[in-house]
C-alpha cells in the first residue's frame, strides 16, 4: 500500500495506545502523513487493523547501524578489551561492509516497528541515502574518534552532512566519548554545536574506566566536563550514563539534556553501573531507550529494551516503582524529544508514525494489561506493519529476500576477519 496523497483509514484496530490512553475497536484516519481523526469515522481506502494493537512509532535512540558485520564477533568480552578488538577491525573496514550493515540494521529496525533512530557511526551519507530508500527517520553524522580519523576531516565531513537534511534524515554531531577524543577535538565539536545548531550525541559515563580516565585528565566527572566545555544543553543526547554521580543528575536536569538508557548493552558488556532511571524520571529528565549497536546487544529490538529497562531497574534497586508505562513512554516519546522530532503520540494532527503489533501470539490481552503485554511479552517479531509519515514502509516479509542476501554477504565478510 503506497498511499500518501489521499486519505485512508486504519479500521477496527482492536487496541490503540495513544500514549495517554487505551482505545478499543476504533479507526484512525490518516491523510498527508498525519493523523486526521481517531474514532468511528472512515475515509478513503480501508486498511483493516483487526487483530492488531496500534502504538506510537518506536524510536531507537542510540545505535551504530554500520556494525552488523561485527555481530557476534569477539563477543563475551568486557567493554575495553572488546573495544580494542573492534577498533582494530574498524580501522580497516571497507565502506561496502558498513553500508550493507546499515542496510541490514534499517530493515531489522523497520521489521521491529522502529520508525526512527539515532545513529553513531562513520557512514552518515550512506545512512542518509538509505533513510530515503526505506523511509525511516534517522539522525546521524560522522563520529569524532581520534584514533580512527583525523578530527579536522570529521569537522569537514560534518559540514557537508549538515546540508543533507531531508524529510527522513537529520544531521547530528557524534562524539564517540570524552576518553576517545582530545580537548582540541571537543573544541571543534563545540564550534559545530554552536555554529550549526545541531544536536550532539555522545557516550557518557559508561564505565568505571571512563570515569577514571576523565577524572585524571580534567579533574572532574564526565557530565561536568561536558558542561564546562559548553556541550551540555537541550540539544545534548547522552547514551549510557551508568556511572553518573547524583550531582551530575542535577546538571542534566538543569541543562535540559537527554539521557538514553541502553540496558541490554550495559548488561552484556558488564559495565556494572547503575543507570538512575527512577531518579531521572522523578526529576522530569527526558529518558529514551537505545539498543546500542548490533555488535553490543545484539538485536535491534526496542521491545526487548523496554522489558530489560524495567527488569534491570528492579534487579538493581529491589523495588517495582518503574513499570511498563514508563518503558513505553521512553521507547516512543522519549526518543522523539531527544531529537526534537514531532509525534510520539496518537492524536489528531500528529505525524502518522505508527507500529502495528499483531496480537496472534500475545494473550490474554485486556485494556488493563495492554501496557504490560507490550512491555513484557511482545517483541519485534510481533510487528506486522510499520507506518512512517503515513507511508506503509514495512509489512511482514517485505524485505526477507533482501535481508537474506545481505546476511550472506556479511557472513563472508565476518569469516574473512579471523
Amino acid at each position: 500500500m503506497e498511499i500518501r496523497d489521499q486519505p485512508y483509514t486504519l479500521t477496527s484496530c482492536d487496541f490503540v495506545f495513544t500514549g495517554q490512553q487505551i482505545l478499543k475497536n476504533t479507526n484512525i484516519i490518516i491523510d498527508n502523513g498525519r493523523i486526521m481523526e481517531i474514532g468511528p469515522e472512515k475515509e478513503g481506502d480501508i486498511f483493516s487493523c483487526s487483530g492488531m494493537i496500534v502504538i506510537p512509532g518506536l524510536i531507537n535512540a542510540h545505535t551504530h547501524s554500520g556494525m552488523t558485520y561485527l555481530r557476534g564477533y569477539k563477543d563475551d568480552l568486557d567493554l575495553i578489551p572488546w573495544l580494542k578488538e573492534i577498533w582494530s577491525i574498524e580501522s580497516k573496514a571497507l565502506p561496502h561492509w558498513i553500508r550493507l550493515s546499515s542496510e541490514a540494521s534499517i530493515i531489522e529496525m523497520l521489521s521491529n516497528g522502529i520508525t526512527g533512530f539515532i545513529d553513531m557511526y562513520f557512514n552518515p551519507k550512506d545512512v542518509a541515502e538509505l533513510s530515503e530508500i526505506y523511509g525511516i527517520k534517522v539522525s546521524a553524522g560522522p563520529t569524532f574518534l581520534d584514533s580512527l580519523k583525523d578530527p579536522y576531516e570529521i569537522d569537514k565531513e560534518m559540514r557537508e552532512v549538515s546540508t543533507m537534511a531531508s524529510s527522513t534524515f537529520s544531521p547530528i554531531i557524534n562524539v564517540h566519548s570524552l576518553y576517545a577524543v582530545s580537548e582540541e577535538t571537543l573544541k571543534l565539536a563545540r564550534q559545530l554545536f554552536e555554529e550549526l545548531g545541531l544536536g550532539i550525541h555522545i557516550h557518557v559515563s559508561e564505565t568505571r574506566e571512563e570515569l577514571f580516565q576523565v577524572k585524571q585528565r580534567y579533574g572532574i566527572f564526565p557530565v561536568e566536563v561536558l558542561k564546562s566545555k559548553g556541550l551540555l544543553g537541550p540539544r545534548t543526547i547522552m547514551a549510557h550514563l551508568g556511572w553518573i554521580s547524583s550531582w551530575e543528575i542535577e546538571l542534566v536536569k538543569s541543562m535540559e539534556a537527554h539521557a538514553v538508557h541502553c540496558p541490554t548493552s550495559n548488561m552484556k558488556l558488564a559495565t556494572g553501573g547503575f543507570f538512575p532511571l527512577k531518579e531521572m524520571l522523578a526529576r522530569g529528565i527526558n529518558v529514551a531507550l537505545g539498543t546500542d549497536g548490533p555488535a553490543t546487544n545484539n538485536t535491534l529490538d526496542i521491545f526487548r529494551e523496554m522489558k530489560e529497562a524495567v527488569l534491570l531497574e528492579r534487579q538493581g534497586y529491589w523495588e517495582a516503582s518503574v513499570g511498563a508505562k514508563d518503558a513505553i513512554r521512553m521507547a516512543t516519546l522519549g526518543g522523539r524529544k531527544a531529537v526534537r522530532l514531532e509525534g510520539g503520540v496518537i492524536e489528531r494532527g500528529a505525524p502518522a508514525d505508527l507500529s502495528l503489533v499483531d496480537m496472534s501470539n500475545l494473550g490474554p490481552i485486556t485494556e488493563s494489561n495492554l501496557n504490560s503485554i507490550l512491555t513484557y511479552v511482545a517483541t519485534g517479531r510481533d510487528i506486522d506493519y510499520t507506518i512512517i509519515d503515513g507511508k506503509l514502509v514495512y509489512r511482514r516479509g517485505l524485505y526477507d529476500s533482501r535481508l537474506k542476501q545481505i546476511y550472506a554477504e556479511l557472513t563472508t565478510i565476518q569469516e574473512s576477519l579471523s
Binding site: 568505571r208 577524572k215 556511572w243 547524583s246 527512577k278 531518579e279 529491589w318
Partner: protein, 218 residues
C-alpha cells in the same frame, strides 16, 4: 569495607548470600571524628562483630583528613589485592563522594566494587533491616528533630523505626542517615553467631548532638 554500622553489615550479608567468599572485613580507623569517608564512632569495637561473624578483620589506620584518607584507602586496597582479593563490597547508600572515590581507587588497584544498597529506597530499607533480623544501636546523632532518646537504644521494633522515619520526613534529614545524621553499631545480624550486649552511656554534646560512648561489649 566494614565500619560496624548497619549499612556495611547489611552489605556483607548481601555478599555472603550472593555467594561471594568474604575473606576479610576491612575496617578503616580514622584518626579524626570528621572523616569524609569513614565512620569514626565505635569502629574500635568492631572486632567483637568480626568475631561474631567469624570473618578475619583487617584494621587499617587512616588520617581521617580529606584527600589524604584516600591514599590510606589505596594502600589498604593494594594490600588486599596482593592477598588475592578480587572485589570490595561497600554499604554506600547515596554518597557519591564515597562510592565514586572508592571506585576510582579500586579501578587503579584492579578491584571490582559492589554497592548493593546504592540508591535503594531508604525508608523501605530501614524497615527491611528490622524484618531481616538486623539489630543495632544508635551511637551518635546530630540532626535537628532527631529523636535523641533513641541514642544508645537498640533498634528492635517497628515502632522505633517508624519514629526514626517519621522524624526524618518531618525534619528533612535522611531516613537511613546517609548524610551522617546518625551512626549505628550492629548488635545482631543473621550472620552473627551470638547477640552482642553493649554497655555504655549517652552523652549530650550539644543541643542537637548526642553520642553514645560504648564502655563494654559482652
Amino acid at each position: 569495607m566494614f565500619s560496624g554500622g548497619k549499612d556495611s553489615t547489611y552489605a556483607i550479608h548481601w555478599a555472603v548470600f550472593k555467594g561471594f567468599e568474604v575473606t576479610a572485613l576491612l575496617t578503616l580507623i580514622p584518626m579524626r571524628d570528621d572523616s569524609w569517608m569513614f565512620q569514626w564512632n565505635g569502629v574500635n569495637m568492631t572486632s567483637h562483630q568480626a568475631s561474631a561473624m567469624g570473618i578475619r578483620q583487617l584494621m587499617w589506620n587512616s588520617s581521617g583528613m580529606k584527600d589524604l584518607e584516600l591514599q590510606d584507602l589505596m594502600a589498604a586496597f593494594k594490600k588486599l589485592r596482593e592477598e588475592g582479593v578480587e572485589g570490595i563490597v561497600t554499604g554506600a547508600l547515596l554518597s557519591d563522594y564515597q562510592r565514586l572515590n572508592i571506585n576510582l581507587i579500586a579501578s587503579i588497584v584492579g578491584l571490582k566494587v559492589y554497592s548493593p544498597l546504592w540508591r535503594k529506597d531508604q525508608v523501605r530499607y530501614m524497615h527491611e533491616l528490622l524484618r531481616h533480623g538486623f539489630r543495632y544501636i544508635i551511637t551518635s546523632a546530630s540532626a535537628y528533630g532527631f529523636p535523641f532518646h533513641l541514642v544508645g537504644k537498640e533498634i528492635e521494633s517497628e515502632v522505633q523505626v517508624r519514629e526514626l522515619v517519621d522524624a526524618a520526613q518531618t525534619y528533612g534529614f535522611n531516613p537511613a542517615f546517609e548524610g551522617g545524621e546518625a551512626e549505628t553499631f550492629v548488635t545482631y545480624a543473621p550472620l552473627f553467631s551470638r547477640r552482642l550486649r553493649v554497655e555504655g552511656r549517652a552523652i549530650k554534646e550539644g543541643e542537637f548532638r548526642w553520642r553514645f560512648e560504648i564502655s563494654h561489649i559482652h
